[in-house]
């Protein structure tokens, strides 16, 4: 609490103020996008509020409209209807250069004729910062992405991961309110991708800038986001924290798209026929006592994966997948009883 707040409090009496709700920085309301004169419906009915200092992710399969939505926030696309507010201001009429939002492009889009330092300084020069301020800030962000020794190289002389970090530094240098990242890691190999996931997350915490990330990789989305939205066919399927989305998928699409899920018809478990139960493979166990068994099945295959064994069990016309710790000794063809804790069940109503 600062002095001004304290004064306010004393003036307004001793009423206790309610805990402030996180302030939405970006508000997307009823946004719709139609391309090609009405033929392609890229986005419909999008309502998303992204908070300040949040790591927010747009997750969905290719072609679901993630890039289009991101480009709308940047100002490169215009919604066919609906509204976008940034920090409480309507930004629809503003061109990209009038929005305090910077983008990390999918292929980085570094200026090939400029050095690393010149690339990073570009936005600052366009904002007419002084020479001194620019050189200070460039040094600062170069240190942030640990590229100090590469400042005079050209983009073509850098590896993919280094180019990625230059793109990040360039977009962060003008201190934007929001950093937009369009599949920033998809061009990197697996190991580098894991490293960069960690670095990105750390960078977001250090800078306190709101990150909006686009990805089709659900593991990446779960690992990095504070909150995420799952999209499909231009619509929001679910919005929530990674835990909520993984544990309580809103519908079949989300349950299936996020991690692995067994979708078991309610009828098979003696429940209502119109519900489907989603149960994660790692929550399923082999019952040792017959009174615990929730579902009987025949073991079709068991694949040893090192830390786990993946079992495929046929039960009532569907195949249930169970991920069990360590090596398992059951022979294919044998009948086994499956059980799981009650809180592993999640009812889907679609």
């Amino acid at each position: 609490m600062n002095v001004a707040d304290a004064v306010m409090l004393s003036v307004s009496g001793d009423r206790t103020l309610p805990e402030p709700a996180p302030k939405p920085l970006i508000e997307i309301s009823d946004v719709e996008k139609i391309f090609g004169g009405g033929e392609i419906r890229a986005l419909s009915d999008i309502n998303i509020a992204i908070n300040e200092c949040e790591f927010f992710t747009l997750l969905g399969p290719s072609g679901c409209g993630k890039t289009t939505l991101l480009r709308m926030i940047a100002g490169f696309e215009h919604p066919s209807s609906g509204n976008i507010m940034l920090a409480g201001k309507d930004v629809l009429s503003l061109p990209p250069r009038a929005r305090s939002v910077n983008m990390v492009f999918q292929n980085y889009a570094l200026f090939p004729h400029l050095s690393v330092a010149q690339n990073i300084a570009f936005g600052l020069e366009m904002l007419n910062w002084s020479k001194f301020e620019i050189s200070e800030r460039v040094a600062e962000v170069l240190a942030l992405v640990r590229l100090e020794s590469f400042r005079s190289r050209k983009p073509a002389q850098l590896s993919g991961g280094q180019q990625q970090r230059v793109a990040l530094a360039r977009a962060l240098a003008p201190r934007p309110q929001v950093l937009l990242l369009d599949e920033p890691l998809s061009a990197l190999d697996l190991k580098l991708r894991k490293e960069m996931q960690f670095e990105l997350k750390q960078l977001q915490r250090e800078t306190g800038v709101t990150f909006v990330l686009v990805t089709h990789d659900q593991e990446e989305a779960l690992a990095m986001s504070d909150r995420l939205v799952v999209m499909s066919a231009g619509r929001v399927q679910q919005l929530g924290t990674p835990q909520e989305i993984y544990g309580k998928p809103a519908n079949r699409f989300v349950a299936d798209f996020i991690g692995e899920a067994n979708l078991i018809p309610g009828g098979l478990l003696g429940r209502r026929r119109d519900v489907t139960l989603s149960i994660r493979p790692e929550r399923i166990e082999i019952a040792t006592v017959s009174s615990f068994v929730k579902l009987y099945g025949v073991l079709k295959a068991a694949t040893f994966l090192g830390a786990d064994t993946l079992m495929e069990i046929e039960a009532g016309g569907i195949v249930v997948r169970a991920r069990l710790r360590g090596a398992q000794m059951a022979a294919p063809g044998s009948e086994i009883g499956l059980c799981w804790p009650d809180d592993a069940e999640w009812e889907l109503r679609e």
């Binding site: 490169f76 990209p96 250069r97 292929n107 889009a109 200026f111 570009f122 936005g123 366009m126």
Partner: protein, 291 residues
């Protein structure tokens, strides 16, 4: 093995260049050091008179006096070639940019339109300009019809008319290479510049111009070289009053019957163009070295 195949494949091209460029140039070089035959052609003895003649007047007793007439022609030619190049660039860049911004179908159409003049003989096209510009031509006729002028404007047979003809003829050679580099420009770089708060002008100055320099350089050479040696446009649109080096060379082989002097002038133009090319490639190399 690879090298042999490469050489074999290059042979026809090398042969053509040798036959139609190197040999004629060697002949020109040889002729320029010979003596003029009064009926055309060349005879012995070998002499450097043709080169001396460029700057000095020689009387019957062999005394040399400085005569700047030809020097003026050369300077004027150079000036017109530079002006043509600059104007072609100023007009051609926006055209190339405009074409690049269109849909693919329209691009093809517009590029075809740019190359359309190539299908008609330059002589005929230049003659059409006379029909447009002369006192009783379309432009003056129209202006008089509108009552804007009483007497026809002197649109033809002057330096601006020559410049117009040159720019008109060589503009496509500027548009096409610039378009080729613009087309290869990653549109995301434009978006990145806008995203980083660039204005239109600074986008052009800081991103598009530096990245299209190779196309601009190619266009500059393709316009400058033929403009320097042109004779059709100066003759027809300048009315012979605007003698340029191209016309001067042509005259030496026809009415003046001074083949050695014509050859010497041709060698001079070629040398100027080659020098420009060398300087150009030096600059490009220096730029790449800095890159």
């Amino acid at each position: 093995m690879r090298l042999k195949t490469t050489l074999l494949l290059l042979l026809p091209a090398i042969g053509l260049i040798f036959l139609f460029m190197v040999i004629p140039m060697l002949i020109s070089l040889l002729y320029s050091f010979m003596t003029a035959n009064v009926y055309g052609g060349v005879t012995m003895p070998l002499t450097v008179d043709a080169y001396v003649q460029m700057l000095f007047d020689q009387d019957f007793s062999g005394n040399l006096t400085f005569m700047p007439d030809y020097l003026w022609i050369m300077l004027r030619s150079f000036y017109l070639a530079v002006a043509t190049t600059v104007l072609s660039l100023a007009l051609g860049f926006p055209v190339a940019w405009y074409i690049m911004c269109q849909s693919p179908a329209r691009r093809t159409l517009l590029l075809t339109l740019v190359t359309l003049p190539f299908w008609i003989n330059t002589l005929i096209r230049t003659y059409c300009w006379i029909l447009l510009l002369r006192d009783s031509g379309l432009v003056n006729g129209f202006l008089q019809y509108l009552g804007l002028i009483d007497h026809p404007l002197p649109l033809l047979y002057n330096q601006p008319a020559v410049l117009l003809g040159l720019v008109y003829t060589f503009l496509p050679f500027m548009v096409l290479p610039i378009y080729a580099t613009l087309e290869r420009l990653d549109p995301r770089l434009v978006e990145a510049a806008y995203d980083l708060y660039a204005s239109r002008w600074r986008l052009f100055r800081r991103v598009i111009w530096p990245l299209t320099k190779p196309g601009i350089a190619a266009g500059t050479v393709l316009v400058f070289a033929p403009a320097l040696g042109s004779f059709l446009q100066p003759d027809m649109l300048g009315g012979g009053k605007q003698l340029l080096i191209g016309s001067l060379i042509e005259m030496q082989f026809t009415s003046s019957r001074n083949w050695p002097f014509g050859s010497a002038l041709a060698i001079l133009v070629t040398a100027a163009v080659i020098l420009a090319l060398i300087l150009q490639s030096r600059r490009t190399k220096a730029m790449e070295a800095r890159a």
